[in-house]
């Protein structure tokens, strides 16, 4: 390649770049006019004249069979589903940008404010069935999907109320009581470690912000509030610091492992080798242990999460909603399908069986699969524990509008701390700063503190 040719090519590239910069005015999206800037009014809720086909995107295993059941009984409202588990939020985000969002999409609770900030949803509250659905769901889930009763943007689907999974055989062997408070849990951790240095009470995965957030939720560590036209960021609070400092103590004393990633093969291997005695988990975890550690059948029991004080309190880890997406012109039909999908016993039973979903609908606890004892857990009625847990979840907890970025910052800083660089509490400072910075980047008015 001659030098001249190179130069000409570079020049060409520069010209192309300059041209694209010149075309920027066309690139940027215009500011909305005054009317459009106001909160979008609830869309109308009229039944369509003819047949309707709805698009529904989700990540739930076996959901195609649930949708097929609906389609068989509802020839006038056909649903086409797409599994987007490869890149759930990437796919949804791109579709929104292209103006091709489906009518309905699965969105996690912690992603609802983030997507709403991108105008991803329509308010279905014009549909009488949508507002009436409130009574059919566990209270905290409705407060998330209605954004504190300001509209109906999604229906809750499943939840992850937290509880403590305990290897009762290990506890019995070391003559330990099952812990009721976090203090008792720490004492048990010490006793297990003293008895066998290779045995840990649990593991702390710094790369799992969703889990850590569940712990914060349990301690009423409200991360966000909104008042006076501004978001108030309180990721770093006395309650969140209490949680961080508690786990820091366990880590410093080497009572918990920090080298296992949640759900990874090494994590299952550690449980398989009887190196870990408990698991602080969510309702959907029951099938993880059942399916991955079949030889430990009968050795596990599930009890309420240890508490900070004397009163019962729990947190949620995971779970999803089915949201009404922007551009949905078939709200009437969408509400019909969405409420069948998430409140009808037949649909709930199928979703539980095929996808392992723990329903957000109150009718869920009456399902035979959830009312009976589970063989793997000594035929204990483990779902009663999760149902109680769900009732004890703080309903005012709010996720932030840039939660994904905050979670990444939290994880990176927690990982630094577990590698010996700083403390877990520093991660809260880092997450607080990331929250404020990312909100500033998205032009969302925010201040630190209450």
């Amino acid at each position: 390649m001659s030098n001249t040719a190179t130069r000409i090519r570079i020049a060409g590239a520069v010209v192309a770049a300059a041209a694209s910069i010149a075309g920027l005015a066309a690139c940027s999206s215009p500011a909305p006019s005054g009317d459009a800037a106001a909160a979008a009014p609830a869309a109308a809720c009229e039944p369509a004249k003819g047949n309707v086909t709805l698009q529904y995107w989700n990540t739930v295993p076996g959901m195609d069979q649930v949708v097929a059941l609906w389609n068989k009984n509802n020839p006038n409202i056909q649903v086409e589903m797409k599994n987007i588990s490869n890149d759930q939020y990437g796919t949804i985000g791109n579709a929104l940008k292209a103006g091709k969002a489906p009518e309905l999409a699965q969105v996690g609770y912690d992603e609802l404010p983030d997507l709403r900030t991108q105008n991803a949803f329509v308010d279905a509250s014009a549909c009488a069935d949508a507002t009436a659905a409130k009574s059919k769901f566990v209270p905290w889930t409705w407060s998330q999907t209605s954004f504190g009763d300001t509209g109906v943007f999604a229906f809750p689907q499943d939840t992850g109320p937290m509880a403590l999974y305990v290897r009762s055989d290990i506890f019995k062997k070391h003559d330990l009581e099952i812990p009721k408070t976090w203090d008792e849990y720490a004492a048990d951790a010490q006793k297990l470690h003293d008895a066998d240095p290779n045995l840990s009470i649990t593991f702390f995965d710094p790369n799992n912000a969703e889990w850590f957030n569940g712990l914060l939720w349990q301690n009423n560590a409200e991360m966000y509030g909104y008042a006076g036209d501004k978001w108030h960021v309180t990721v770093e609070s006395d309650q969140s610091k209490q949680v961080a400092e508690y786990w820091q103590k366990l880590i410093d004393a080497k009572l918990v492992r920090t080298d296992l990633a949640h759900g990874s093969t090494p994590m299952y291997a550690a449980y398989q080798k009887n190196q870990i005695a408990t698991y602080v988990g969510a309702a959907w975890g029951y099938s993880m242990f059942r399916d991955n550690l079949p030889d430990q059948s009968g050795k596990w029991t599930i009890v309420p999460m240890p508490t900070w004080g004397s009163s019962a309190a729990s947190g949620d880890w995971g779970g999803s909603t089915v949201a009404f997406m922007k551009g949905n012109t078939h709200l009437y039909e969408s509400v019909k399908f969405n409420s069948w999908l998430n409140t009808d016993p037949e649909a709930l039973a199928l979703e539980n069986k095929l996808g392992g979903l723990y329903p957000a609908a109150t009718a869920g606890s009456a399902l035979p699969a959830l009312a009976e004892g589970v063989p793997y857990y000594n035929n204990e009625k483990i779902f009663d524990v999760f149902a109680d847990s769900s009732k004890n979840i703080d309903t005012s907890f709010t996720w932030g509008p840039t939660q994904k970025t905050v979670n990444l910052a939290l994880q990176d800083a927690l990982a630094k701390a577990t590698a010996g660089d700083g403390k877990l509490a520093d991660a809260l400072t880092a997450a607080q700063a990331a929250a404020l910075k990312s909100m500033q980047d998205q032009a969302i008015p925010a201040v630190a503190g209450n």
Binding site: R9, A16, C27, A37, T117, Q411, D412, A415, D441, A443
Partner: protein, 315 residues
């Protein structure tokens, strides 16, 4: 484009007298027919996205109204670039990757060169086997290779770790200090064979007469390797170095996979991982600016290296 145009003219000049073609019509059509299959996707999937990213990098997000509001973008000048330059995470990812490249690229290319020279000696038996064996890892997709290695690194699963523990060592391949080199090892395993093959094919092109002449002059095999073969294939070595510099700056798959089992790889471990993390937080404009800066750094480093070495090597 200019390259091809120049060559085209040369062809016309040398064959001019005998050419049966009159005028440029059919020739232009032929050229276009050959070029369009390349240029159309090149423009659509290469130039347009680059121009789009550059465009995005000059925008900022603004918002009107309420708790959730409505967002729009507007021209923000060099705002996003100022933020990139102020971003300590960005510079530490560049520093990390710089350290990675300074160590991994020379090690990998040196091993590749030795392997290529060995394959080129008449002493080695089973050449075809060794050539294929060395090239094999390149046929394994990067993500699969990283998953495989992650099992070998994991203290819970790895027979290698068990073996080292049995002889009294306490290896921690996923620890905060070691994990960068564990990722470098995966890259080296993946790419050494590929680089070796480029060097080996250059060696194959050297005429045998040169070796005969050298032998007549009493040169040893060693002297032939270092004084004749290596200087002649210098352009290939430079080429593989440039590829490796580019590959290093774009490092993503290996650390992203190892991140699944090691919390010592942060979400901003490499520049590309940082850009991805920023984009996943909906800050496309900032991610675009980061991408443009990475591209410029890659461009400067690879062309800088080519300039530097082509002068030295007298190419």
């Amino acid at each position: 484009m200019t390259d091809i145009a120049t060559r085209g003219t040369r062809v016309v000049a040398t064959t001019g007298g005998r050419s049966r073609h009159n005028g440029g019509g059919p020739r232009a059509g032929t050229i276009a027919a050959f070029l369009i299959p390349f240029f159309l996707p090149f423009v659509l999937f290469y130039l347009v996205p680059i121009a789009y990213a550059i465009g995005q990098s000059f925008l900022v997000v603004r918002r009107t109204g309420g708790q959730y509001g409505t967002s729009y973008t507007t021209f923000g000048g060099f705002d996003q670039y100022v933020q990139v330059f102020q971003n300590t995470e960005f510079w530490s990812s560049i520093g990390r990757i710089g350290l990675f490249g300074i160590v991994q690229v020379p090690v990998m290319l040196f091993v590749a060169l030795i392997m290529a020279l060995l394959l080129d000696t008449p002493l080695l038996k089973l050449k075809a086997f060794f050539r294929i064996a060395a090239f094999m890892p390149y046929a394994v997709p990067g993500v699969i290779a990283a998953i495989m290695w992650s099992f070998l690194y994991s203290p819970q699963l790895s027979p290698v770790v068990d073996l080292l523990k049995a002889i009294g060592l306490q290896p921690d391949f996923l620890g905060p200090g070691a994990v960068l080199w564990s990722a470098a090892n995966v890259s080296t395993w993946l790419w050494t064979g590929y680089n070796m093959l480029i060097m080996f094919s250059a060696l194959q092109a050297i005429p045998q007469e040169l070796y005969e002449a050298a032998k007549l002059d009493g040169a040893s095999n060693w002297a032939i390797a270092w004084k004749i073969k290596v200087p002649i294939i210098a352009p290939s070595i430079i080429l593989t170095t440039v590829f490796s510099i580019i590959g290093t700056l774009q490092l993503y798959a290996e650390p992203a996979v190892l991140r699944q089992i090691s919390s010592n790889i942060s979400s901003t471990f490499t520049p590309n991982m940082l850009a991805y993390a920023v984009a996943s937080g909906n800050n496309y404009q900032q991610a675009a600016a980061i991408s443009v800066v990475i591209a410029v750094i890659t461009f400067v480093l690879s062309f800088g290296f080519m300039r530097l070495t082509s002068k030295r090597a007298g190419l």
